[in-house]
Subunit: 189 residues, 2 copies
DNA sequence: CAAATACAGAACGAAGTGTTTTGTAATAAA
DNA sequence: TTTATTACAAAACACTTCGTTCTGTATTTG
């Protein structure tokens, strides 16, 4: 792949995330991104059809990455090797978030962060499905599997949102304990 | 109050909700609202500073109303007098939603409905606080009160979202049972 | 009836969007 | 190295939407 392409693509992503840390999504004009990334107008539209697609691409790359690693690519994140293997996936995720990889926290705690929380939650569904639901069967016979998956995914996304909106005062372990306290009882019938 | 004011204000609200049932919020131009409401441009901006403020006003009126009635204004909704008094507030809310008062379902099940779900959830917090938290003390000693309020509010909003995105196939009673199944165990320590 | 006010219609500048054109520099392939 | 391809910058473009301003009319209120 052309080095120029990769370079500008990353410059746009970087400029976009930097801007998102200051302004909300709808306050950012394409021109702002061009100025911040030092990129021509034609170039931007050669890479991304529109500003919404840029957002989509960024979210897929960011949340896709963080959740893929959480779902079982231990090679990709060796500096987390100190994780106790008994730790749950969610604690792993919380720790990963606290590392603020690629400034992901700026997005999730920005004003009007619902957009990102939605992407986060949708990506979480895959993880939750793999984690709790085996073969489409709900671990709680009183609840439909898709309702449970939606509920747990939303609960974790909201937990993260609560955590961030408070300035991450708690340890990941504490937050994980809160999350477990509101989800584990459900799974036990 | 001038009848003309009330009339145009309601015409704008009606046009806006009708449009929201078809398009997403950001696809709706002010001009569309003017055409649908048959109202002049000057008039619109005399009533609402901007399109965002119109959204805010609509949401406050809608969710404020539905939650106020749920929190204890039995006189305001006599046709729900058949409600069993042992029914919870949330079942009451679900029934109220199913009545589709002022086409509120069009908003909550529209594309890009996160905006409305956010308003819904925020308004729910007051109800949840009044319902579960007494004097700022959490009913579950292991969890902070604000975390619990946020969790339960989000859980109900997501339950409604799940219900609507499925075409409301279940009874309000069934949905309420699902919601209770994921929230009640938390309150019991 | 008189004064105040809500309204329609039209025009306006400003801002943002996405496209097109022209020319240049970097890259990949021969 | 040479050649062809590709990515890019710069500027201008038509278009849409926004929010304001002006003028004149209809309605309400006192």
């Amino acid at each position: 792949m052309d080095r120029r392409q990769k370079k500008t693509r990353e410059a746009i992503f970087r400029a976009f995330t930097d801007l998102l840390a200051k302004k909300s999504y709808h306050q950012i004009a394409v021109q702002d991104i061009l100025d911040e990334a030092d990129v021509g107008r034609t170039t931007f539209y050669a890479h991304f059809e529109t500003k919404d697609y840029l957002l989509k691409a960024l979210c897929e790359e960011l949340f896709g990455h963080i959740l893929d690693t959480a779902m079982g690519f231990p090679h990709a994140h060796d500096h987390y090797a100190n994780c106790d293997s008994t730790d749950g996936v969610f604690l792993h995720l919380l720790r990963h978030l606290q590392e603020n990889d690629r400034n992901i926290l700026a997005l999730l705690s920005s004003p009007n962060n619902e957009i990102f929380l939605r992407y986060f939650k949708e990506n979480l569904k895959h993880l939750v499905t793999a984690q709790y639901v085996g073969g489409g069967q709900s671990p709680n016979p009183h609840l439909p599997a898709d309702y449970l998956v939606n509920h747990i995914s939303a609960a974790f996304a909201e937990t993260v949102n609560w955590w961030l909106s408070h300035g991450r005062r708690e340890d990941p372990e504490t937050v994980n304990a809160y999350f477990m306290a509101v989800t584990e009882p459900i799974l036990r019938g």
